[in-house]
């Protein structure tokens, strides 16, 4: 659905994106994660044909944005970082205006406007000026606009920003359901919980791509496998015993809690536990902890920063 090869974007003195490549399948939810200024928005703008690359190739639904920009824009939905609504016309007029640019029958347009305004709880206030809407309502209206023509690909830049928890939950469920309709979702977010709950794969970017993987693959990687052991007394006392053991790649101690990083938990865990028991160490609790996306993100970005 989306193929990107060796994509680079340079502005006058800055390289915003450098030599990135990835593929996104039909119906995949792909999250783009990275710090501010990492090149996320620039990438979205290139993929949605708003700006051209300095070098590299892009194919969206098999088409080249250079030659088929209008076609590509007809099959994508774009939620920009800022809602970008016409504040002096009503919510209904906003959707009616934007939907006019797509090749859809008038009755389909009307029914979609009604469908999304109702879905996001804006139908009752459809005739109010968009400028009178709250931040969350504007975000919902912008999301409705991105969906109004039933796009095959959705580019969502911070879709739940400004939404209350219930609305954010509703939007996340909606994005999950898009998968069943084979809609491809390209998600940019700083909300790592959201990314981990929605994404099939995540891509870490900081000008260059740091890593692309599924959450399971990331959790299965190196220092991301952790065991948490809570002792009856201070864990520092057992440091020497643990340091002698094989298969431990690192450890963190805080009071009576020990976190150890293991390469192969299936192999190492039974050995570690039996060694501790053999040494008459009182263990209150043992648990294997899967690293959160936040832990992985921070580690990858930190590693990238020290390079």
């Amino acid at each position: 659905m989306i193929t990107v090869e060796n994509l680079t974007k340079e502005f006058k003195t800055v390289t915003a994106v450098e030599n990135i490549s990835f593929n996104i399948d039909y119906g995949e939810i792909f999250s783009f994660l990275g710090p501010n200024g990492a090149g996320k928005t620039t990438t979205i703008r290139m993929l949605s044909t708003l700006i051209g690359p300095t070098s590299g190739t892009i194919r969206i639904d098999g088409r080249d944005p250079k030659n088929d920009g209008a076609y590509i824009r007809s099959i994508i939905g774009l939620l920009t970082e800022s809602p970008g609504l016409y504040e002096k016309i009503s919510a209904y007029e906003n959707l009616n205006f934007f939907s006019s640019f797509y090749d859809m029958p008038a009755d389909k347009r009307t029914s979609n406007i009604e469908k999304y305004l109702k879905m996001f709880g804006l139908w009752e206030r459809r005739d109010d000026l968009a400028g009178t809407y709250s931040k969350g309502m504007k975000q919902k209206l912008a999301l409705s606009r991105a969906l109004i023509h039933d796009p095959k690909i959705l580019f969502l830049d911070e879709p739940t920003a400004g939404l209350d928890p219930a609305s954010a939950h509703m939007v996340r469920n909606f994005i999950k359901n898009l998968k069943e309709e084979q809609v491809t979702v390209f998600l940019c977010t700083h909300n790592l919980t959201e990314a981990s709950s929605l994404s099939d794969r995540v891509c870490f970017i900081k000008r260059k791509i740091i890593r692309i993987a599924s959450l399971a693959e990331l959790q299965d990687h190196g220092r991301n496998k952790r065991i948490k052991i809570i002792f009856k007394d201070n864990a520092e006392r057992y440091r020497t015993v643990l340091e002698k053991m094989e298969g431990i790649s690192g450890m963190e101690i805080k009071d009576n809690t020990l976190s150890i990083f293991v390469e192969e938990p299936e192999k190492s865990n039974p050995v570690i536990i039996s060694e501790l028991v053999k040494n008459n160490i009182d263990i209150l609790y043992v648990n294997e902890i899967k690293a959160s996306l936040e832990d992985i993100y921070l580690e990858l970005i930190r590693d990238e920063g020290t390079r």
Binding site: F11, R45, S48, T49, L50, I51, G52, G69, A70, Y71, R73, S74, I76, L78, T80, S82, P83, G84, L85, Y86, E87, K88, I89, E93, F97, F98, S100, F101, Y102, D103, A142, R145, A146
Partner: protein
């Protein structure tokens, strides 16, 4: 074309709703098309009772058979220049408002994310500025012609308008000027973040029009067909140059990366 018309329809609704745009246009139209010609026509008789005025008229026009008729002809030439104020003013009020509202609301990015092409967007914006300019200029022209013809006919028994000069201004020079002003406004608006300062271009353009009126009154020259056709030619030369600059500025990438946006 379809997409340009979608832009045009939306924008024109907003123009109608925005009294900051149509109120100054309405005031100028009433002032220059109705009030001023009425006053001048009403007082023109008494002007020729004053000796100093007759001396001045003789100095400017020489010895003429019918100084009152010459004076009316002179006044019509002044109004001819007033006619240019509307096509200069309307685009310079509408185009900056239309473009800078997009910047203010950050609507350009989602708009450019639809299948619209940038040249369709530019064309739609240009139509929004040029069609009202043409319509209002024409209405202005008709009202002014009617007011002058009726009052002069009542007072002096003849219908002076329209003249060839009058038709050149209304049908050729005004549309060219409104096109030029639209393009200038587009260029200025892309570099500006403030509607008022971008609209200031209208004031700057109107100033030379006042200057022409002043120079005519002072007797430096009188507008004639040759001058008007020359002005049309000069403006026409500038049209493709400014269009090219505006098209280059109205490039998708330029808009998103180089246009000065509101923070």
């Amino acid at each position: 074309m379809k997409n340009s018309l979608i832009i045009f329809r939306k924008e024109i609704k907003e123009v109608i709703r925005n009294k900051n745009i149509w109120l100054p246009i309405l005031i100028i139209t009433i002032m220059f098309s109705i009030i001023m010609p009425l006053i001048i026509s009403l007082v023109s008789g008494s002007i020729f009772e004053d000796e100093d005025t007759i001396k001045f008229m003789t100095k400017v026009f020489g010895d003429v058979e019918d100084p009152e008729k010459v004076f009316i002809g002179f006044i019509i030439k002044q109004f001819l220049i007033f006619l240019l104020m509307i096509p200069a003013m309307v685009p310079s009020l509408i185009a900056p408002a239309s473009i800078l509202m997009e910047k203010e609301n950050n609507t350009l990015e989602p708009l450019l994310g639809t299948p619209i092409r940038t040249r369709e967007l530019l064309f739609g914006k240009a139509l929004t500025a040029m069609i009202p300019a043409f319509v209002i200029s024409t209405i202005n022209f008709l009202i002014l012609t009617l007011v002058l013809d009726v009052t002069i006919y009542i007072k002096m028994g003849y219908i002076p308008l329209p003249t060839v000069e009058w038709l050149i201004v209304a049908l050729i020079l005004s549309p060219i000027l409104s096109f030029l002003l639209t393009m200038i406004s587009v260029i200025v608006s892309s570099k500006s973040t403030d509607i008022r300062s971008a609209q200031g271009i209208g004031t700057v353009i109107i100033f030379p029009i006042y200057l022409i009126i002043g120079l005519q009154i002072a007797g430096f020259f009188l507008i004639n067909i040759t001058y008007l056709l020359l002005a049309c030619l000069v403006f026409l030369i500038f049209c493709p140059i400014l269009l090219r600059i505006a098209v280059r500025i109205f490039d998708r990438e330029n808009i998103l990366t180089r246009w000065k946006m509101k923070a």
